[in-house]
Structures are given as structure tokens and as C-alpha cells.
């Protein structure tokens, strides 16, 4: 005879029922087990529909209850689950894991040149590569670069709004803050309003951010007029160049000084700084930090004189030892300790560097590298796609966005929506193309290599500050 199960049918349930039914059943069975209750509870299937709209949320989710009331939404929150709460099969909770560790754990004795972190970044080769960063790389960044430019100590409150999984937030935010005993204010969800109120609430003295955040803060401040927090002693911008106008307005409104940094994941973040009010030149990435060697070379690796454009190469204790499990790529990128950045530029007579172009096919959006190859390879797996090419193009605000040129297979129909949905399902949002253009064919050279340059009419590099732009901004 088949086992009897109970069916709980609740066609007009609500959000709280989603939590209450299973918890009550679990509680009943577990309590029953211990009380040796004679009435054993059966296996149960619960089928529910809903008569009201609602939200079921974990204890840490922030919900605006007033707004929920106005929207007529129920809000059911799970109780904070202690140890022993139901957990996803095959997983454990961090707190359960920590319970097996002792607060007296003795840190291991580790060679400073051993890998401490792998940070994955997109290159030209498609899939992201793991940049190996050692303890020494991070400590050098904190002590010999960060601290060289701005001394931070326990009196400082640093805003941690940049993602900590990115080299900039990790190597210039988290590590130096902890090293120098600062207070680090973690901001997990960026919105201009959130950031500004956090700066205000914690009386931040150090802001490490990207240009778009500085722009947003100015816009907010303009609307506010009063109550602008003026506690920030140090402001650092990186990831993309900042228009001079933004820089000047921010400095004026927030009474601070902005330094613009340049660096790569492969250099554990910053290697040069263009310091407003100190050593500053418009449009430059600044001179390298004292512990960094930086020069411009031609295709044969020969040093170029001041003013001549070539590839920028970097040497110093912040340079990675290479990519994880990729000896060939590592050897190609780092030669005799010199990291080949793929950025083209020149040095002026005062030792300031300027970037003019990018040697590699790489799209950079808000400081995140995007490999056109990776996006192409993904779209190529769509069954209705014959051919595809991906390039970076400027959007209305002259920031670089991903654009895909797609050739549909003969006899198939493919819409922009189809391609976008496919990308959204498989790629991080910043890699998803902002524009799709359908073509009959793609421009190729004799060996079948796609000629991206031909697709790139009107292309502007996101990291370049155009002389025209800055002139305009200054006027």
C-alpha cells in the first residue's frame, strides 16, 4: 500500500503563510520526536496560492514598512536563524563553521611573497584571468604608496563604498584602513543618497571612489545647498579620468582635495597619482610613486624619449608575479620584472605620464575590465547566431559601453531582445551589451580576423581626457 501523505491546500494564503506552514510542521515533528508523542506527524505537501501581494524577507533585508503599507504589501520577515535553523542542503552557515574555530587561533607563519589573493580580471584572451597578488604586493601598496601620499591613522574614518572584490576597494580601501587602524564604514549598496548620508553620519575623513560617484555627490549637494559634510580631508578618484570641472566643483563644495590615481589589478591598484593642489597636471595620470619605476617603450622594448608615444611599462614591489596557471600569458605580460600594461602613452619633461590609447582590445567600464572576446564567445553559443563582434563604443556621456554586431544564421529570426535576454542570463550586468546591431556580414581581414577598428567609427577611449573636453570644462 502506498504511504499516506497529507496535503495542506491553502488557495488564499499570504506572505506569512510561506514561513509559518513549514516552520510549524518542522517544529511539530522535531518536538514530537523528543516528546515521543504517540501521534506521529505525516510527510506533508503544501500547495498555496495568494490572496494578497507580499514580501518574504530574511532578517537582514531592509524594508520600508511605511511604503509597504501605502503599496498595500504584506511584509513577512523570517526570524534571525540561530544555529540549527534549516539550511540549504550541502552547505553550512558561517556561524556554524566559526563555532569550530577558536578566537585564540595563531596566525600561520607565511612568506610575504606567497600568493595572498587571486583577483580575476578580463584580458584580451576571453575568460577572466587570476592575477596573483602576494602579501608583499598589498603591504607595499598600503605602506609605500597610500601612506606616502596621505598618512592615515586611527582618527580617520574611511568610506568603503567601492566593492571589496575589486582591486581598488581592496588594496586602497580595506587593507590600508585596517593596517593604519582607521575606522572603515562599509556601504554595501551604492546610491548617491546612501553615500552622502553615510559620509555625514560617520563624519568621513577619507573618500575613495570613482568619478561617477563624485559627479552624483555634486548633483545631490547642488539640490541640498545646505548641510554639506565638510569633514573629508582626503578624496581619491580612480577607475576612470575625472573631468576637471567635476574635480574643481567637488573640491569647492566639499572643501577637500581630490587625487586621481592610475593603476591596474596587475599592480595591486595605484602606481601614480595626479594630486590636485600639489603635483597636478590636467589630463595626466601623474608622476609614478617613488617606489615605482615607469617608462615608455617601443614595440621592440626600447626606451622612448620624453614626448614620444609607446607602451607604458611598470616595475616595482606592487607588480604581480603573474596569472594563475597561465605561464605563457604571464611571461608575455611581465618581462624582466617589467609589467607591460597595454596602455599607450608618453611622459613629459617633468616626468608626468599621459595615456593616449589602448594597445589591447579591452573595454573598460567604471573600472571593470570587459573582454570583447568573452562577450563574443558567449553570444556565439546562441544557436541562431552565425557571427558576432563586440567592441566598446561611447555612450551619450562619452563613457565606454559594450556594443555587439550580430549576424543571424540564414533562415533564422533573431531579435535584439533575444540576444539581450541571452546575455542577461549568462553575464554579469556590466558586460551585457547596451546596443545590438544586426549586420549581413562582418568586416574581416584575409585570415578571417574581425577588423574591430572598422566597426569602431567614432570610438572614444573612456580613460582618455580629451584636451577639448577639459578646455570646455575649464571655460
Amino acid at each position: 500500500m502506498a504511504e499516506k501523505w497529507r496535503l495542506v491546500y491553502n488557495p488564499e494564503g499570504d506572505a506569512a503563510d510561506m514561513i509559518a506552514f513549514p516552520s510549524a510542521l518542522v517544529e511539530g515533528r522535531i518536538a514530537g520526536k523528543y516528546m515521543l508523542s504517540s501521534e506521529s506527524l505525516p510527510n506533508t505537501l503544501i500547495i498555496q496560492g495568494f490572496k494578497r501581494a507580499g514580501i518574504i524577507a530574511g532578517a537582514d533585508v531592509n524594508i520600508d514598512k511605511e511604503a509597504a503599507k501605502k503599496q498595500d504589501l504584506d511584509v513577512a520577515k523570517s526570524a534571525r536563524s540561530g544555529r540549527g535553523a534549516p539550511k540549504s542542503v550541502g552547505s553550512m552557515s558561517l556561524s556554524d563553521m566559526m563555532a569550530k574555530g577558536s578566537r585564540k587561533f595563531k596566525p600561520k607563519d607565511v612568506d610575504p611573497d606567497k600568493p595572498a589573493v587571486l583577483l580575476y580580471t578580463s584580458g584580451t584572451t576571453g575568460k577572466p584571468k587570476g592575477v596573483i597578488l602576494s602579501h608583499r604586493n598589498f603591504i607595499t601598496q598600503a605602506v609605500e604608496i597610500s601612506d606616502h601620499y596621505f598618512k592615515m591613522d586611527h582618527k580617520d574614518t574611511v568610506i568603503g563604498v567601492l566593492p571589496l572584490f575589486h582591486v581598488y576597494g581592496l588594496a586602497n580601501g580595506l587593507v590600508p584602513s585596517m593596517y593604519f587602524g582607521c575606522r572603515l564604514s562599509l556601504v554595501p549598496q551604492y546610491s548617491p543618497h546612501h553615500l552622502l548620508s553615510n559620509i555625514e553620519a560617520v563624519k568621513a575623513t577619507v573618500l575613495i571612489a570613482v568619478p561617477s560617484m563624485y559627479m552624483h555627490l555634486i548633483q545631490l549637494a547642488r539640490m541640498r545647498k545646505s548641510k554639506i559634510p565638510k569633514t573629508m580631508r582626503i578624496s581619491v578618484s580612480g577607475g576612470a579620468p575625472m573631468p576637471l570641472k567635476t574635480l574643481q566643483e567637488f573640491e569647492e563644495v566639499f572643501e577637500t582635495q581630490i587625487s586621481e590615481g592610475y593603476g591596474l589589478t596587475e599592480t595591486t591598484s595605484a602606481v601614480c597619482l595626479n594630486q590636485s593642489g600639489k603635483a597636478y597636471k590636467e589630463g595626466s595620470i601623474g608622476p609614478p610613486a617613488p617606489v615605482i619605476e615607469m617608462k615608455v617603450v617601443d614595440d621592440d622594448g626600447k626606451d622612448l624619449p620624453n614626448g614620444e608615444v609607446g607602451e607604458i611599462i611598470i616595475k616595482g614591489k606592487v607588480v604581480t608575479q603573474g596569472y594563475w596557471n597561465m605561464p605563457e600569458e604571464s611571461a608575455e605580460t611581465i618581462k624582466d620584472g617589467w609589467l607591460h600594461t597595454g596602455d599607450l602613452g608618453y611622459r613629459d619633461e617633468d616626468g608626468f605620464f599621459f595615456i593616449t590609447d589602448r594597445k589591447k582590445d579591452l573595454i573598460i567600464r567604471g573600472g571593470f575590465n570587459i573582454s570583447p572576446r568573452e562577450v563574443e564567445e558567449l553570444i556565439y553559443t546562441h544557436p541562431k547566431v552565425q557571427d558576432v563582434a563586440v567592441i566598446g563604443v561611447p555612450d551619450k556621456r562619452e563613457r565606454e559601453v559594450v556594443k555587439a554586431f550580430v549576424v543571424t544564421k540564414e533562415g533564422e529570426e533573431l531579435s535584439e531582445r533575444d540576444v539581450l535576454d541571452f546575455c542577461v542570463q549568462n553575464l554579469a550586468p556590466y558586460k551585457v551589451p547596451k546596443a545590438i546591431e544586426f549586420r549581413e556580414s562582418l568586416p574581416k581581414n584575409a585570415t578571417g580576423k574581425i577588423l574591430r577598428k572598422e566597426l569602431r567609427a567614432g570610438f572614444v577611449d573612456d580613460r582618455l581626457i580629451n584636451k577639448e573636453d577639459t578646455k570646455e570644462a575649464a571655460e
Binding site: M18, Q71, P128, M178, P429
Partner: protein, 298 residues
């Protein structure tokens, strides 16, 4: 003596800073001493799992204190931290975890589903460590329906089977309701044309399995929910994964009775059981009332 490595960085800092604040987060203050103790426990906990110096441990977390605990806990053990973008999707995550051979991942409870889906393709990954209570689910009349189970662990040979059989029950029911070519992804969601139509999560507690699944019978008005919920972009992005519904695929939506009938029939067949409509027992009813009032009060 200042630290030369990230291994000793926090203990050195705690030595000089002591009770001074290290982290500020949503009105909470975490001192250097606390941070030192917490990261020690993470290091010890990982060591207890068999993680050794040089092993790779992935971190997929937003800027919350647990990121800092995980990061410096891994460092104290001399293991290699692999923090990566919380926006990454299935195949991006698979690539990174396989490339570095991560033995463990520390991530948000919200991403349990995502990790479940990729885990079978990442042979090196032995430990999934979850933190944060940011699960988020929306329900709406005539749009969402839920199928839940509270059953003894002996019902299924293992967790994979619990996922698979639940997946098949829902697939059968969808078929009955006119959705032909949906497919079930190992330990994950049910999709149609790549778009999600149902989600399944299997949890365990003592000798019980709790299975939660939600199906979409019509398209959500998702914006109404985000007017009142504040979540980080990576969570929002996962919630907004392209979805489809029975209505979208078949042009009509079943009423509750038809849905119940389809699910119940398929469950009886797939599980070899007899289902009988029943009420909660007295003790259960008491627990149910208590849970309801608690969840609306929190």
C-alpha cells in the same frame, strides 16, 4: 613591529588599536579586538574543514562585515582569498572556481540556489559556507503559487534526488497545464527558453528536508516590490533574472484548483504516495499562529 603580511595584519592592528572601532556597518561598531577574534574563528573553522595554507577559498560577498571576516580569516590561515564580483552569473562563476581550484566558497545565503546549480560542474568545491539573512521572495495573487514539502530525509535517497524528483513533479504539472518544453537544471531552477518559470530550494534540519518552490503562473509587477525593499544590486539582479510564466507561454493561466490537481497527481505518481487533504494538528496549529504573528511583527 608592523605586519609584513596580511596574515598577521589584523592581530597586529588589534594589538595597537584594541577596543577602537575597525568597522562601521548599519549603526553597528566592530572593534579591532572583536575583528581579531572573529577572523581567528574563521581561520580555525576553515582549518577544521581541512583547508590548508595555499588552498584557495572563494568569496562572493558584498561590502558587509562578513567580507572582512572571511578575507582576513582566510589570510590568517595562510590560504589564498579569491574574492570575485557578486554580479557574476553561472558560467562566469564556474570558470573562476575551476580555474583556481577553490575548495570552499563563502557567500550570501541568497546565492545558495546559484551555487547549487554550478556545484556539480566544479569538482574541487567541497564546502559551501553561507552567511547573511537577505533572502527575498515576492508573492502576488494570480501570479505566484508555491509548493512546499516537509518530509523525513528517508523519503529521498539523497539531496540530489530530492531536487530531481521535485523538479519532475513540477515539470509534469507544468506539462499538464500546457507548458511543453520546460527543463529542470540540476539542483536549480526550472526554465523555459532559458527563462525561469520555477525555483526549487532544498533545506535540511535534523532528520527533515524542507523543500520550497515557487512557480510563476503570470508575469510579476516587480516594480511595486522594489519601491519598499532596499537590496544591493547583486541581489536585485538575481531577483530580476529573466522570468517567464504559464500565461506567457500558453496564453492562459490555470486557476488554483487546476494547479492543485496537476501538482497533487504528479506528486502521487512520482513519489508513489497517497495524498489526502488534511488540516494542521493542534500543536502544529499553535506553532503556525505563533510563526505568523512573529513574522509580521519583525
Amino acid at each position: 613591529m608592523k605586519s609584513e603580511t596580511l596574515v598577521t595584519l589584523i592581530s597586529e592592528a588589534a594589538h595597537s588599536q584594541k577596543k577602537r572601532t575597525a568597522l562601521l556597518f548599519e549603526g553597528r561598531e566592530i572593534s579591532y579586538s572583536q575583528l581579531d577574534e572573529t577572523t581567528s574563528k574563521v581561520a580555525g573553522g576553515l582549518e577544521h574543514l581541512g583547508i590548508k595554507e595555499g588552498d584557495r577559498v572563494a568569496i562572493m560577498l558584498p561590502n558587509i562585515p562578513e567580507f572582512v571576516y572571511a578575507f582576513f580569516g582566510i589570510q590568517k590561515l595562510g590560504a589564498v582569498a579569491v574574492p570575485f564580483n557578486t554580479m557574476y552569473k553561472g558560467r562566469e562563476i564556474i570558470h573562476i572556481l575551476n580555474d583556481c581550484g577553490a575548495r570552499a566558497i563563502i557567500t550570501l545565503t541568497n546565492f545558495a540556489n546559484l551555487i547549487n546549480e554550478v556545484q556539480s560542474e566544479v569538482p574541487s568545491l567541497e564546502h559551501v559556507i553561507l552567511t547573511g539573512e537577505r533572502t527575498l521572495l515576492f508573492v502576488e495573487p494570480d501570479t505566484t503559487v508555491s509548493v512546499q514539502m516537509v518530509v523525513g530525509k528517508d523519503v529521498f535517497p539523497d539531496a540530489d534526488e530530492a531536487f530531481r524528483i521535485t523538479g519532475n513533479i513540477l515539470l509534469d504539472a507544468l506539462k499538464e497545464l500546457g507548458v511543453e518544453d520546460a527543463w529542470y537544471n540540476h539542483r536549480g531552477a526550472i526554465r523555459h527558453n532559458g527563462k525561469k518559470i520555477a525555483t526549487i530550494l532544498v533545506s535540511e534540519i535534523e532528520n527533515l528536508l524542507v523543500i520550497n518552490s515557487v512557480l510563476f503562473i503570470d508575469d510579476y509587477d516587480i516594480d511595486q516590490f522594489f519601491k519598499v525593499v532596499w537590496v544591493s544590486p547583486e541581489i536585485k539582479d538575481k531577483v530580476l533574472e529573466p522570468m517567464t510564466s504559464i500565461q506567457q507561454i500558453t496564453g492562459s493561466k490555470p486557476d488554483m484548483e487546476a494547479f492543485k490537481k496537476a501538482v497533487a497527481e504528479s506528486a502521487q505518481k512520482r513519489l508513489g504516495i497517497d495524498l489526502e487533504v488534511g488540516e494542521l494538528k493542534r500543536d502544529e496549529l499553535f506553532g503556525y499562529q505563533k510563526q505568523r504573528s512573529l513574522s509580521y511583527k519583525l
